[in-house]
Symmetry: C2
């Protein structure tokens, strides 16, 4: 096999075989194929795309480049959930116990992410005593017992993706749908669950700004997952503004507890019902989405989801009292009101900028080993469509008291808000549901 | 400026400024911009092309990366000629003295090329005593005196092109018309002449197999050259079979002498008339192509072109008697007839394969410093359209007597010939003439 010929084949719109994809990706990992040839290949893929078959093969080659989480010691259908980037995305903390309380099984290993805020693992660590680094046997034992566990990922999932991503990131080949889909799905498939519900964000704050692109990404990921023998459903949802009100770590745990207690923000609750019902459906727990939705709704109302979160915290060494008293969570040194510079209606909130301002405030990390002050975060008081008077608080900054960080974050934060004179309705939230059976519009 | 943004701009079909192109190319040469980013950029250019303005700017940036030959010490309009790859392309040896004899000025520094056969410099070295490495002052002095000199290139012309070409060659980004045009024109513009006649080959044996591609390449090169203030004309000619009969070094010098003596192969003579008349026209020596053509024709018939070759040889230290006695050229150890394996009509001759077989026979070099046996070459006895009987010679191999080379070359050579039962007419030779005034079809 000849790397030059493979670049040329893709350049001219040809389809590579599984063998050819293996040769390319494995050669790149072993440094037999130099960066520059891979870069040219990636740019050819950017223009010429990949067939459904190539996407599955690329993904599986990346899965095979690293460890796979073996969940076979856990009986039953394990279901996972993934969101393509979100700001203030508290969903996992709510969904995992709620789905488990409703009959599903969630065995999730999750990374310590960089980015706007900490990852799920960081959020969990704001619960006093909570351990997120457990031996695999203990993790599996907990799931077998209470049907849910969330721990920090060990092993290296899909390292090929990491190497390829690093190259894409400097060669303007990130925004290629087959490559994005392969990147996401290789890690999800390596994570070992039997089914995956994907939340594909679209809108100003999302990676896929256009609905058509989000739809194509969703379709491609569903095809890859189903092609690899998993059950996969994707929802296309809005990222026109941050989800819920909380952005940070402890502050998002509090919002998750509130949501499981029945007093969550409407958009977060709606998303939980949609994602959760699909997770139960593909798990085979419920026969229809309507039944599954009803069950999730009941388990919020009767607080079984909240109780399951308590069980989860206890199983992982944390203080379960937190579910009744969120004052046990890390508290910020200082809460600062960020006031509206003008009155009117909130026209838009740039979710990405809000996420970045929470990072500037201190809620995210720059390097993998940096500690985070888990108490820091932003609590929104106004969302799109809300009326606001000049001087009324737009948000509360949960701060460590460092005023230079506050000033920088405030500037970024205020830039994210657009306030205008006309009343507008909140943006559309759900767009579509994509499964192997096709695309269904959601309202 | 940010390299990532420049790749993205081109990826999305944008036009780069001169400053941006400079930043990119110079950064690459200085190794500030890594190979992989350049490779992604080149692939984006492959798909998105470059505007006429970008092509000029890219070319001039590459010219500025190295030395320029300063021909200002030579008075008058200096005219150059370039062929986009040819097999058995004896034209320079015929054209240079003929144009000089007709009133033009040819001051040509030429490289020692790798490839199927030696370059022009190697061919000249088969003339006893002929020096091709002369001090620049002597070169200019000769041109001022007799209006022609051909020597080996000194200095480094357009080194950026060399680096970029090396990367294109391993990333499947060679066949991009803006990049090919920039590569050729950067070297021609650095070579210092005031006008250039380009011979763009098309057909099975050529780089541009399709006429449309050859036309686009011709147009792009003319635009670049005129944009850089030079007078440029391009002819699109056939490369369906080797030009003339001789492929090699001494053997091509002999063919050149025969052509200047009035007994050249028809296709070579036709090409000489077409290229030469355009060289005289852009030099301002003649007012029309018809007049120029007539003058070239006369200077073949009256042997003034041949006499000029004698002057050139003498001026560069060679033995001018060679023009009257080609027996003074290096003679092969052995001449071997290559017999037709079947009878019929020659349907096609793959020029590239014939070139490669002459290399296998020993007429070319693999590394820049390797000596060549200048006596080796192939003399064709049959061309497309000719009738041939089984066992009749297709060609004569001028060999050093190494039978293993002969066997290998013979196999390759016979593969290049297709002989069929039906009489066919020789292929079309001239397609079009491209100048700043437009495209004119030639018959």
């Amino acid at each position: 096999m000849n790397i030059y010929e493979l670049i040329k084949k893709k350049r001219d719109g040809g389809e590579l075989s599984k063998k050819e994809i293996d040769y390319m990706i494995n050669g790149f990992i072993k440094k037999d194929i130099p960066d520059y040839q891979m870069a040219a290949f990636l740019m050819a893929v950017f223009y010429k795309g990949m067939t459904a078959r190539e996407c599955v093969d690329l993904t599986m080659t990346m899965v095979d480049s690293g460890d796979r989480v073996d969940l076979s010691g856990i009986s039953g259908f394990k279901v996972d959930k993934h969101s393509t980037g979100g700001v203030g995305d508290t969903t996992t903390l709510v969904l995992a116990p709620l789905v488990a309380a409703s009959g599903g099984i969630v065995a999730k290993m999750t990374g310590r992410e960089l980015g706007h805020t900490g990852g799920t693992v960081d959020k969990l660590e704001s619960i006093p005593g909570m351990k997120v680094e457990l031996p695999k046997e203990e993790f599996m034992d907990i799931v077998n017992r209470i049907h849910v566990s969330l721990i920090a990922q060990t092993g290296t999932l899909a390292p090929a993706d990491k190497h390829i991503y690093a190259l894409r990131n400097v060669t303007a080949t990130v925004d290629s749908i087959p490559l994005i889909a392969g990147s996401i799905m290789s890690k999800k498939l390596a994570a070992g669950s039997d089914g995956i519900v994907l939340d594909v964000k679209t809108g100003v704050g999302a990676f896929m700004q256009k609905y058509e692109d989000a739809l194509e990404l969703a379709r491609t990921m569903v095809d890859i997952g189903e092609g690899a023998g998993k059950r996969v459903v994707a929802l296309i949802t809005s990222m026109e503004q941050p989800l819920g009100y909380a952005i940070g770590n402890a502050i998002e745990v509090k919002e998750a507890i509130d949501t499981l207690s029945g007093s969550g923000p409407q958009d977060l609750v709606d998303l939980i019902l949609e994602l959760g019902s699909n997770m139960l459906l593909i798990s085979g727990v419920c026969g229809s989405r309507e039944d599954a939705r009803k069950r999730i709704r009941e388990n919020i109302d009767n607080k079984k989801g909240l109780a399951k979160l308590g069980e989860l915290i206890k199983a992982q060494g944390g203080n379960p009292d937190v579910i009744g008293n969120t004052g046990l969570l890390p508290q910020p040194k200082k809460i600062i009101e960020i006031k509206a510079p003008a009155g009117g209606y909130v026209e838009s909130i740039d979710a990405l900028e809000v996420g970045l301002s929470s990072k500037v405030l201190g809620a995210g990390r720059k390097t993998k080993d940096e500690p985070i002050d888990l108490s820091i975060g932003i609590f929104l008081k106004k969302k799109v469509g809300d009326e606001v008077r000049k001087g009324e608080p737009l948000a509360l900054f949960h701060s460590d008291g460092d005023s230079s960080k506050v000033e920088a974050a405030k500037e970024k934060f205020l830039n994210a808000y657009r306030i205008g004179p006309k009343k507008i309705s909140p943006p559309r939230f759900f767009y579509a549901r994509v499964s192997k059976d096709g695309v269904e519009e959601l309202k």
